[in-house]
């Protein structure tokens, strides 16, 4: 059993990063996630593990610092909130194109524009459909607890290096600010140069030795045929993720007539709604996608032939509902309920929406 602590979601991101042997964090302050860098600066990991922490001049600079350091085979990360992630979009696209591993945390707030600093899930499309330019996908994890904020930093770095792809932890202001009990992993050492050589020795910019070709981190390719091959290689990688890495939690779905689909803090509210509805005699279940990309489309497709309807519950205007509709492919009714602007609905409100949408 690891060390148990009562911690805030944002603080645990910092703690997990240090403990899993992260080499560097580059970021820029923005509510509701500034505690990530503040915690790191207070813990001063550069004195112990040797992890670098740097406050950059902008999110643009942050992501390109991540690009440079990730290109050297290091485990590096950044965190921000919605407007900051928009600024990073070009850099994230470059990282996807150059196939660089990294962890990017988005503690979402409401938009568009400067919007609100209250919680939101309005960046679902941005996170799961790329967000920047070009055909690419991030590996997207949606934590629903402080424990998962911790676990997904560790898992995120694992996935980032397994697939040489940027990983996004798509959290929201609720999870970022929430205090919960969390079990921490024991401190792991940062990778040694020898380990980096073993893991990323065939591409990282660690300095060209006479026994190997030079390494170049780039997303540029002028030859159309080669570029198409690069695109196909990326798509094959995303398909591998779809085959092997889908993660979700399914709650009381076996006998359900209706299934709600919700991620992050919306799923916690829906868990309560399941109980309320079942007390009223309505058989309701919940699928909580943990990976938003790859999306758990197979399990949704399987239930599509068994249930009377799906309700997508999101803190946005209805974004994930489109992925559910694609998975369901017309086989059953798919509805959406959500609140925006930083408003978090109550479990009863969701239950009422279920009744209204499906006329029970």
């Amino acid at each position: 059993m690891g060390e148990l602590r009562l911690m805030k979601g944002n603080e645990v991101i910092a703690e997990a990063a240090i403990r899993c042997g992260c080499d560097g964090y580059f970021g820029y302050p923005i509510t509701p996630q500034s505690e990530v860098m503040e915690t790191l600066m207070t813990l001063r990991p550069w004195e112990d593990s040797g992890m670098v922490v740097l406050q950059a001049e902008s999110e643009i600079a942050s992501i390109h610092m991540v690009y440079g350091a990730a290109g050297a085979g290091k485990r590096v990360m950044t965190s921000s909130s919605s407007p900051g992630i928009s600024l990073m979009a070009e850099g994230i696209s470059y990282m996807a194109g150059a196939e660089l591993p990294c962890v990017i945390v988005n503690v979402q707030r409401g938009g568009p524009g400067l919007g609100t600093i209250q919680p939101s899930q309005a960046d679902y499309n941005q996170a799961t459909k790329g967000g920047g330019h070009g055909d690419y996908s991030l590996f997207v994890l949606a934590p629903a607890s402080v424990q998962e904020m911790h676990d997904f930093v560790v898992l995120g770095f694992e996935m980032a290096f397994k697939y040489r792809n940027p990983v996004m932890i798509l959290a929201d202001g609720v999870i970022g600010q929430l205090m919960e009990k969390v079990e921490l992993i024991d401190q792991r050492p940062r990778w040694t140069n020898e380990q980096i050589e073993e893991i990323s020795g065939d591409w990282a910019t660690t300095g060209k030795r006479s026994n190997r070709q030079k390494h170049v981190i780039t997303s540029l390719e002028m030859d159309s045929n080669t570029m198409e091959q690069n695109n196909l290689r990326l798509q094959a990688k995303y398909n591998r993720m779809k085959d092997e890495e889908v993660r979700y939690e399914s709650i009381e779905c076996e006998d359900a007539d209706y299934i709600m689909v919700a991620f992050g803090s919306a799923a916690r509210i829906c868990q309560k709604t399941v109980q309320i509805a079942r007390r009223k005699g309505v058989k309701v279940g919940l699928i909580r996608p943990i990976t938003l990309f790859p999306f758990p489309e197979k399990i949704i497709a399987e239930y599509a032939t068994k249930v009377k309807g799906f309700l997508s519950v999101e803190f946005n205007a209805g974004q994930m509902v489109n992925d559910i509709r694609l998975a369901v492919n017309g086989k059953t009714q798919v509805e959406y309920f959500g609140r925006m602007g930083g408003i978090v609905p109550t479990p009863d409100e969701v239950e009422l929406a279920l009744e209204q949408r499906f006329n029970n």
Binding site: D23, G24, F26, V52, L54, A56, E57, S58, I60, A61, S62, H64, M65, V66, Y67, G68, A69, A70, G71, A72, K74, V76, E90, G91, Y94, A98, T205, T206, G207, K208, R209, S210, K214, H215, V216, I217, T218, S219, L220
Partner: protein, 270 residues
Amino acid sequence: MSVLTERINEIIKPENLVYAKSPLLNDDAMHYCPGCSHGVVHRLIAEVIEEMGIQEQTIGVSPVGCAVFAYNYIDIDWAEAAHGRAPAVATGIKRVMPEKYVFSYQGDGDLAAIGTAETLHAINRGENIVMIFINNAIYGMTGGQMAPTTLIGQITATTPNGRNADLNGYPLKITELIAQLPGAAYVTRQSVQTPAAVRKAKKAIRKAFEIQAKKIGTSFVEVVSTCSSGWKLTPVASNKWMEENMFPQYPLGDLKDSGRADADLYRIKG
């Protein structure tokens, strides 16, 4: 051994050799236009890295601009940065591998327009990197549009009647700005249009790399450069135009060589 090298060896006997191409430069034909300064500066960087024996420790950061393919020519590890972000990319590399030599290589649009924030802040942090700045007063790669360093009256694709200060602002002397920053250890402005200038520029680049090992801040080498295609002049006429028009606006020489002294004024004592 390439056919070219064989032929050269037939003609030039080792005992007569006065100059050779650095082995760090490969035999690929560079994509630069005739008369372009980029190729000369590439050569100087390759020579300095070779002479200092730091090939295995050096990582270059290429820009978006005509030098985007710098990584094709010099045989070291490279990261190709997004437009303007080379100083941030170099910062990331250097911070996680402080024992390496890291340099960025950027044009005027990259360094002094879209990437101004990254440029000033990397230097203001005193990142222990070398920054090479190719100032050709134009956007070479995209077809000769106005750059922040374009001269008043200079005709470009986006200033067809010449740069007009009322409409387009003033030529940006970013190197003078940079020299004000405590994080800058060495700031110099060079050129490569004559053999003498090339030798001086090489000395400056060498000094910049040597300063990096001392960890006393950023070294910044501007090279006032030609873009014969963008300027629509022959290579020879370009050199003349540069000397007559660019040098008065961008005078050559060291702007700062204070090492750590400047930064020390701000350091917390104790």
